[in-house]
């Protein structure tokens, strides 16, 4: 057991304007669960892509069991016993489970045999799956099972998992960990990528911490506190958002039996959602991705029209109104997808400011645009929200994720909303920008606005919410005060363990 399974030595990869990985070295022992820890943008994805043969390093060496390891393609990586569970982008919605699995294998068996193997393996590891179902119909957790089973069928020596728990309820996380421990006991090494410190403490044997492309430390996570790891990861002591306790005011936003049919054939329709949000209150809405979050945002922003009385703002029915009519009344929204939904990628920041600001900021008169006013609105957003960009004439897509998100949230906040709905306000945003965004949301509530924050980051929701509810298959749970909720209770609100089961350790 003395020889490492995989050894990275001085891996470097540069993209124009950014060094994604700079001399990264570490090693993974056989049977070890090794954590790769770092913020968004720290270079974790690039590193993993090099190990999986998707990206070629500019410099540095990899070796596997002492032999040189230079995968030119993912096929070569798989042939060497490396398998990967992706965070995004590796399943095909319109194909069934067996076809998806076959696509990830080098030499898949005949369809019938493959279906049988999928059943066997999924039973053994407690991840039940029907090989004939369309992947698009599966829940996020089930989709992850497809990826895991695809890997397991190839008897991998090294399993790479990229942020696997972001799509799971706490109960499902526990079950996943059982599966991973079983694999570990069978001698499989696991490279576990995450920024969730408690998980890493619970699961991993060793950890490498990346910041801005460099290794900034290694540690034994079981012997290191979460606080220490966090500071290594972020580099500075974090500012935790704060607010004063205040009694909430009048009911501002009210949803009554709100049902929405999803526009996407694989989407989740909302079913009889009931919720009231009061002035000065933040209601956090949790839930695993794909349980109706996008549909809820669409129903509130006005992109999806609903029965007029199903949504009211200050008592006025607005369900049948479009986005701009709702903006006029003070209901604003910021969707999850920054590029292509909240902002038009190739358009300038001035044009993007106009995108939602036209009505409330008076940027249009008689149908004609007031470009000067739009530009100064964009400049105000840039200044007030510390958006790093040379100026408002730059295209939205030229901004980093964090900066664009600050722009998008800032654009809505500066329009003085009566009620603001945001979906994943800090998704893929670096820690300092995330903290700034959360503080801005809390300040807005402080000033009397009603807020609905939809997020899959439970820590974030616990930090800023007054009340918490969870979406599960398009239904919203009864909201409860956030203070004092336990992880178990939250998990049950999110739907518990769905139909997962604990791995059969006898297998």
């Amino acid at each position: 057991m003395a020889d490492p399974l995989l050894k990275l030595d001085g891996l470097t990869k540069a993209y124009p304007g950014v060094v994604a990985n700079d001399g990264v070295s570490f090693q993974i022992m056989p049977g070890e669960v090794h954590a790769l820890l770092g913020e968004n943008g720290a270079g974790k994805s690039t590193l993993v892509k090099m190990i999986y043969g998707l990206v070629k390093p500019d410099a540095g060496k990899m070796s596997m069991r002492g032999a040189t390891y230079e995968p030119a393609t993912p096929h070569a990586a798989r042939a060497s016993g490396v398998a990967m569970v992706f965070q995004h982008f590796s399943l095909f919605d319109a194909l069934n489970v067996a076809e998806n699995v076959a696509l990830g294998m080098e030499n898949p068996p005949k369809p019938r045999q493959l279906a049988r193997r999928i059943r066997e393996v999924s039973e053994t590891y407690g991840l039940p799956l029907d090989p004939d179902r369309l992947v698009g119909d599966l829940s996020a957790g089930e989709r992850q099972r497809v990826e895991i089973i695809r890997c397991l069928l190839q008897d991998p020596k090294l399993l790479i998992m990229d942020e696997p728990t972001s799509v799971l309820t706490p109960q499902e996380v526990d079950i996943l960990f059982e599966t991973l421990r079983k694999l570990q006991s069978e001698g499989t090494s696991i490279l576990y990528i995450s920024h969730k410190l408690e998980e890493i403490r619970a699961l991993c044997d060793g950890a490498t911490i990346l910041r801005l492309g460099k290794v900034v430390g290694t540690c034994d996570p079981k012997a290191t506190s979460a606080r220490e790891m966090a500071e290594l990861m972020v580099g500075t002591a974090l500012h935790t958002p704060s607010r004063e306790e205040k009694a909430p005011g009048e009911v501002v936003l009210k949803m009554t039996d709100l049902s929405v049919k999803s526009a996407n054939p694989f989407g989740t329709s909302l079913k009889n959602v009931n919720l009231t949000v009061q002035a000065g209150e933040v209601v956090g809405i949790g839930g695993v991705a794909g349980n109706g979050q996008d549909e809820l945002l669409a129903a509130l922003s006005g992109e999806a029209r609903v029965a007029d009385a199903a949504v009211t703002l200050n008592g006025q029915p607005i369900g049948a109104l479009g986005p701009n009519a709702r903006r006029k009344l003070g209901l604003l929204a910021a969707p999850e997808e920054r590029l292509g939904h909240a902002a038009a990628p190739d358009m300038s920041l001035t044009e993007n400011a106009l995108l939602t600001g036209a009505v409330r900021e008076g940027l249009v008169s008689n149908g004609f645009l007031k470009w000067a006013d739009a530009k100064s609105f964009a400049e105000t957003i840039i200044e007030k929200f510390d958006v790093r960009t040379p100026g408002p004439e730059n295209a939205a897509r030229s901004l980093s994720g964090g900066n664009l998100q600050k722009f998008v949230i800032g654009r809505e906040i500066l329009q003085r909303p009566v009620c603001l709905v945001v979906n994943q306000p800090t998704w893929g945003v670096d820690a300092s920008a995330a903290a700034a965004i959360r503080q801005a949301l809390l300040d807005l509530a402080e000033n009397g606005a009603a807020l609905v924050v939809i997020s899959q980051d439970l820590d974030e929701l616990m930090e800023i919410s007054d009340r918490f509810a969870a979406l599960n298959e398009g239904r919203l749970s009864e909201p409860r005060p956030a203070k004092g909720l336990t992880v178990d209770e939250i998990g049950l609100m999110m739907g518990g363990a769905h139909d997962m089961e604990v791995a059969h350790v006898d297998g």
Partner: protein
């Protein structure tokens, strides 16, 4: 190895340079094509691009320039609005035909009344209406049934061509034409004729309409909310919906404007240079306008310039046909090539070309 790297934002300089580069490349490739056909490539290029403007017979050709450019620009301006919003009306040829039929029918209905102040404006309205109605078919099918507007608008061209034939042979046939197909000649009916406004320039009301369309489109796209909505929809349909754009309304508006303008172009043509409704009245302006729209980068001023350039290739093509025996089809291939090269070099606007160490990811 060569690889592409996405620019943080589209390059302004390249967006101006690419059409010129495309024209140059087309001249080179076109020259090669002409050489294969056994013609002197330099002479052919000169005949197409130089002679009509500055050659011996320029006095004749220059007038032709505006006659051809007018309908091209008029149609392309309309198409560009839809193309910008991702609404693909490629059946302008059909709308052009229907505009001509509607407009000519109104004019002929009044024959031989002499009341130009009434008849000509009515014809203009009818022409625009004809194109508009024809464009509304794909537009409404798209909004009501989500039917692909590309296929429907295109298929309707063939329907319009058959309709044109039946009109030329039937309802609109010149009763004094001793049985020959084709309508009365509107040029010889002063109340309905769309004649030259300034002698020798080739400028008729269609050219004036094209200029007005360029100016209005420029204002619409740069200063008006509707133009902004069109641009956002093309860039990012979801962001547009989020911003309150009604996608269906936009389909109807864009198709309506482009149909109306194509119809106008048809009316001005039938009442002017063509003179009459005949079986082979249409000559492909509706399709060439697609090239004009792209070559002009969907920008009104660009379209004006591109329209003049494509008109030049038509006229130069005729000159080359007459002088060098260059086949008419060569010009059509030449125009297609122009669009190919434009699309190819367009990559430079959004991507940087890097030559160096290769990478497959």
């Amino acid at each position: 190895m060569i690889r592409l790297e996405k620019r943080p934002q589209p390059s302004k300089a390249w967006s101006y340079a690419t059409p010129l580069l495309a024209v140059l490349l087309t001249m080179v490739a076109g020259g090669a094509l002409f050489a294969i056909l056994g013609k002197d490539p330099l002479l052919a290029i000169r005949t197409i691009f130089w002679e009509p403007l500055f050659g011996e017979f320029a006095w004749y050709y220059r007038g032709q320039l505006l006659i051809k450019a007018g309908p091209l620009v008029l149609i392309a301006i309309g198409l560009s609005l839809g193309f910008r919003a991702g609404i693909w009306n490629i059946g302008a040829e059909g709308q052009y035909i229907m505009g001509a039929i509607f407009g000519a029918a109104v004019g002929l209905a009044f024959y031989p009344m002499e009341a130009r102040w009434l008849i000509f404006p009515l014809m203009i309205i009818a022409g625009a209406f004809g194109g508009f109605v024809w464009a509304m078919i794909p537009a409404l099918l798209k909004t009501k049934f989500n039917t692909n507007e590309i296929l429907v608008s295109l298929l309707l061209v063939y329907v319009a061509e058959q309709f044109l034939a039946s009109m030329a042979l039937g309802l609109l046939r010149n009763p004094e034409g001793s049985g020959f197909p084709g309508s009365r000649n509107l040029q010889q009916y002063p109340a309905a004729a769309n004649g030259e406004l300034i002698a020798g320039t080739g400028l008729h009301w269609g050219g004036v309409a094209a200029l007005i369309a360029v100016i209005l489109a420029y204002i619409l796209l740069n200063r008006h909310m509707l133009g902004f909505q069109i641009r956002v929809t093309g860039e990012s349909p979801r962001a547009a919906r989020f911003a309150g754009v009604k996608p269906n309304l936009l389909v109807v508006v864009c198709m309506g404007i482009s149909g109306g303008l194509a119809g106008l172009a048809g009316l001005f043509e039938v009442a002017g240079p063509a003179g009459q409704i005949s079986i082979d009245f249409n000559s492909g302006y509706g399709f060439t306008a697609i090239i004009v729209a792209f070559l002009g980068r969907l920008h009104p001023v660009g379209i004006l310039l591109a329209g003049l350039l494509l008109a030049l290739t038509y006229i130069g093509g005729e000159a080359a046909q007459a002088n060098l025996g260059l086949p008419a089809a060569a010009i059509q291939a030449f125009q297609g090539m122009l669009l190919f090269f434009l699309l190819a070099v367009d990559v430079l606007t959004n991507f940087r070309v890097r030559i160096g160490k290769g990478e497959m990811a």
